[in-house]
């Protein structure tokens, strides 16, 4: 935008004050039906069924239905549908579950990792799929609960395996560290492994989806604004912004996949770390 601003006096003029850049408001979609609101933590929030809520339920149904149908036939030589289902399931089961957690324990986490991966992946993809075009994980509340589940699971399995104090010793004292340096290490490790993990896990996914969508809105609306309200050569820049929109949309698809993958991969890593015998 600063580039455009410096360019503007030379080739034409844009009435910048009329353009409303995209912001958090674009994620605060009004509910279907009457606009009721309520106050929560100093924020005014809509009360009602909103687009991300519908998407959330829809994706859950879709993921379940697809894999249920794909896996139901159980043919020895799979058809196309079964093959795709098995490839998706096998990817999470083997490359994330078995390779990270290890072949001894991984099987009991496979349903969780599998459901989580495709739940996040398809919700992310909705940010690019036409007619939806809203990343469900751009709503922070939804991501917080997924991070909360992850936090509960890895701490639970860790405590169950090592005992309450054994687990905290396991998570806060790295192997081989002794002496006064522990005074420094223990709070640091506790902070990093117990407190920060769920926060970074949630924010990484949320911020990527949020920023990506913001960028897409910016290119779409900015291009339109320049085309409609720009004068002279500035009009030409509008379609260029739309070309950028398409390029960024493809980049977004990659990021959507990567973020879903990273989220589940970190989940598996945390579980593995909690279950590990020694550092």
């Amino acid at each position: 935008m600063t580039f455009l601003a410096t360019l503007a006096p030379m080739v034409g003029s844009v009435r910048t004050e009329e353009f409303t850049p995209p912001g958090p408001g674009d994620f605060n979609l009004p509910p279907i039906g009457p606009d009721k609101t309520f106050e929560f933590l100093g924020q005014t929030m809509y009360l009602g069924v909103t687009k991300p809520m519908i998407q959330l339920v829809l994706v859950a149904l879709l993921v379940f239905a697809f894999f249920r149908v794909a896996g139901a036939k159980r043919a020895m030589v799979p058809g196309k549908l079964q093959y795709v289902g098995e490839a998706g399931y096998g990817f999470v089961r083997n490359s994330i579950g078995r390779d990270i957690i290890g072949s001894q324990d991984f099987m009991r986490f496979v349903p969780y990792l599998f459901a989580l991966f495709f739940f996040i992946l398809i919700n992310n993809f909705l940010g690019t799929i036409p007619f939806f075009e809203f990343p469900t994980m751009g709503r922070v509340g939804i991501v917080y609960s997924l991070a909360l589940i992850s936090w509960l699971i890895y701490n639970y399995v860790g405590i169950k395996k090592h005992g309450f104090f054994g687990y905290f010793k396991h998570q806060t004292i790295p192997g081989g560290v002794t002496g006064p340096v522990l005074v420094l290490i223990v709070p640091l490790e506790f902070f990093s492994n117990i407190i920060v993990r769920p926060v970074t896990l949630a924010l990484r996914l949320f911020a990527n989806m949020f920023a990506g969508h913001l960028l897409l809105i910016l290119f779409a609306l900015g291009g339109e604004y320049l085309l409609v309200h720009g004068e002279g050569l500035v009009k030409v820049v509008g379609p260029v912004a739309w070309i950028m929109f398409i390029a960024v949309a493809f980049l977004e698809v990659l990021i959507q996949f990567l973020q879903a993958y990273v989220f589940v991969l970190l989940n598996a890593t945390y579980i593995q770390g909690a279950l590990a015998e020694e550092h």
Binding site: R93, A115, V143, Y144, S145
Partner: protein, 187 residues
């Protein structure tokens, strides 16, 4: 120089979660998790296990087939070796038989040749005997007539001439037998 106004009038903090979304997300994901765990994962696991089993079963079958084939091959090789052995034995027998036949034939031929030789010798001896007898008769006659001619007197007196010849022959035989008596040990 270029101020971006914030969207909307009230300031929205995107990091503050919507409580309904938190609860909804927990519930929806929870339901998805249980549904997947109960209805999806077992299907795939069963398929994988069955496939593994099918492949292992196939391998086992192939292995047993291979073993069977190996056994059959060994048996055939054994049969072949037996046949070769048998052939060699038969050849050996034939050679022995041939050699025996040849030896027999040679022996027969030798006996036959010996018989022929003996027969020839006997014949020769007989002919010699005959020749000696006829010679003895003729030599006497010839010698008397020759001597008669030389001495000029008739020696046709049979009695005398026979005596002379006999004496001569007797002399001859004594010389011969003396020589024979000396010779057997001789030299």
């Amino acid at each position: 120089m270029f101020v971006i106004p914030l969207a909307g009038e009230e300031k929205l903090n995107p990091l503050i979660p919507h409580p309904i979304e938190i609860v909804l997300s927990l519930v929806v994901f929870g339901l998805l998790f249980f549904a997947v765990k109960k209805f999806v994962v077992p299907n795939f696991e069963k398929t994988f296990a069955e496939r593994t089993q099918a492949i292992e079963g196939g391998l086992e079958a192939a292995e047993s087939k291979q073993k069977e084939a190996d056994e059959k091959l060994a048996e055939l090789e054994k049969q072949l070796a037996d046949a070769r052995h048998e052939a060699a034995r038969i050849r050996e027998d034939a050679r022995e038989q041939g050699a025996q036949i040849v030896a027999e034939m040679r022996e027969q031929a030798q006996t036959e040749s010996a018989r022929i030789v003996d027969h020839g010798k006997a014949q020769i001896e007989a002919e010699r005997q005959q020749a000696v007898t006829s010679l003895r008769a003729e030599v006497g006659t010839l010698a008397t007539s020759l001597a008669g001619r030389i001495v000029g007197e008739s020696l046709d007196d049979d009695e005398r001439s026979t005596r002379v010849v006999d004496r001569f022959l007797a002399d001859l035989e004594t010389i011969e037998s003396a020589q024979a008596a000396v010779q057997p040990d001789g030299r």
